[in-house]
Assembly symmetry: C2
Homo-oligomer: 147 residues x 2
DNA sequence: GGCTGTCGTAACTGTAATCGTTACAGCGGA
DNA sequence: TCCGCTGTAACGATTACAGTTACGACAGCC
């Protein structure tokens, strides 16, 4: 599968902002997050823009600008992030519509649509079980670098 | 998401072969399947080649050549097809390794890896619950075209 | 009011995956 | 020998995403 790092990077950004705020800071800049994620600030701003549209973060402009959480880490789930950041369905139908004169060609899309819907429902349920609070906890539980 | 139609087309091909064999035919050709799926025979041959490597179908060459099922539709699950046809994991890590000097950058990948593994395990479990027999049944249950 | 730092966004490039297509060698029964 | 189909390489088109540069917009601060 064309693996997608958007969910990973978005979770990274949220965890970073959350930890930074717990250390007493008001806002985090896209530059700081980009340094941690080893990428470009614009990539972070684009992702956080989608998270803002979903109501997960807020941004300030002007001097002393930056990003802050709009909700507690404990109330944000990976499903919230997934829906904010991943547009399409997990599995796609054919690019061109199959031969409607063929029994299989006619029935395959309704059949697969129903099956895929069930599977995605389960996926969403699993994603909804993981909060960003847990993500940050797991992050901090990672073993230190051996010296 | 960059939606992938490989699983859909592979299931289509298997259902088509299965139904064709139940109608008394020995083998199906990539040309026939491609006509039903409204695509190119080479695309079908490539997909079926991967399914053959996974032991799901067999192919004959020479005159009267074509494809046949290596196992009953009832014993093939969408998980078998998924594993044969989709290479990578569902969610990817960062393209470049995050800043290991940052607490979040250091811990994010182990944390997400663990979470993703759990989720993919659930996905596989769901895929394993659907047999190609059920897919074909759903295909045939699709309502006829209204005249 | 101007300065400054950051957001917000457009535009473009590079890279990778997939699909579609053409071409052709290989196989094996008739 | 002939013929139909497999097997596979090669190439172009399309799409998605990451990365980058550039620049306007905003708002606190001097």
């Amino acid at each position: 599968m064309s693996a997608n790092s958007r969910l990973t990077t978005a979770a990274h950004a949220l965890a970073w902002i959350g930890l930074y705020q717990r250390q007493g800071h008001e806002v985090a800049t896209s530059e700081q997050i980009a340094t941690s994620a080893n990428t470009n600030p614009v990539v972070i701003r684009r992702l956080l823009g989608e998270l803002r549209r979903a109501g997960l973060v807020e941004s300030r402009r002007g001097a002393g600008a930056g990003w802050s959480l709009a909700r507690e880490l404990g109330s944000i789930t990976l499903l919230d992030v997934y829906e904010a950041v991943e547009p399409g369905p997990l599995f796609a139908m054919h690019r061109t519509t199959p031969d409607q004169g063929c029994v299989v060609g006619h029935g395959i899309q309704p059949a697969m649509r129903g099956i895929y819907q069930d599977i995605e429902e389960t996926l969403r349920h699993e994603l909804a079980r993981v909060t960003l609070e847990k993500v940050l906890r797991d992050v901090l539980a990672a073993p230190r670098q051996p010296l």
